[in-house]
Symmetry: C2
Subunit: 166 residues, 2 copies
């Protein structure tokens, strides 16, 4: 195997990285529109919407963000009036994060746009291909799980237990 034969463009991790960058770059335009939200802030906002009294740790556990990133995003969002932060009564280490009405408004405005963006993307696929693509991504995740050095996958945040506060 000589070095010359290696072609970055066909290299799977690079391809996915490129696709991700393009896609998320374009998506940013959606939620930056008017509100100037960063990617991290949007993720936090979306996740906090799931439930009242979310803690920084809850968010960190579910969304793919480091603890400091969550902390800072929350601070910025609070400064912009989109959420409020109160120290928990039961455990003074914990912070209870909650959307404000303004935060809810913003989210209600942005969410449909984000979904429309996704929908437009998915027009590239037939219904079966769309499902297949998700399946294939899932297989790659499973393959990554086999490597102990891989970043562990974040649990799902939806209805099923895995991620809601214990």
């Amino acid at each position: 195997m000589t070095t010359d034969d290696f072609n970055l463009d066909d290299f799977l991790p690079y391809q996915i990285s490129m696709l991700s960058a393009r896609m998320n770059g374009l998506l940013s335009a959606t939620y930056v529109e008017g509100y100037n939200l960063s990617n991290s802030e949007w993720r936090v906002l979306v996740h906090v919407a799931r439930r009242e009294k979310m803690s920084v740790r809850d968010i960190h556990k579910c969304v793919n963000l480091e603890k400091p990133a969550v902390s800072r995003a929350v601070t910025r969002l609070e400064n912009n009036g989109l959420l409020v932060k109160m120290t928990s009564e039961q455990d003074h280490r914990l912070v209870e994060i909650q959307l404000t009405d303004a935060g809810i408004d913003v989210l209600n405005d942005i969410t449909p746009k984000a979904l429309a963006f996704e929908k437009k993307l998915l027009q590239a696929f037939s219904a079966e291909d769309g499902a297949l693509f998700y399946t294939l991504m899932e297989r790659l995740h499973n393959q990554l799980d086999k490597d102990p050095n891989a970043t562990p996958r974040k649990p799902r945040a939806d209805g099923r237990p895995r991620c809601l506060p214990d």
Copy 2:
């Protein structure tokens, strides 16, 4: 559409972002191993291997890196003795970048590891599924191309013309 119905985990851009992050995070371990190369530096190194007398602009045009990122990566690689930089005779603005023997050695060591990593990932797929996955990614790229705000896709760097210095 209420905000609560939105599930980040099923959101295509987020999913791809997660997959990319996990995959590239794990890959980094490969080329950091012993050489302490950053992602940018590895991309530059790989690309420079394609041809002698590569310029910063050539790299920027092909690899998905901003010009300043390329410039700095090249500087670091030069300081580490993996490539040399000479101003072009014909055009004094241009820089001619070229791997050193040390650079070639490093690349010859890392490349097979990177390919092995990719191969292991692809074990998640049957041969047909692998090809299909690439096809589906291609369709997503095409869909992104339709949006004028999307970052234009970098041309391929392989034998076929698109990317080699004009």
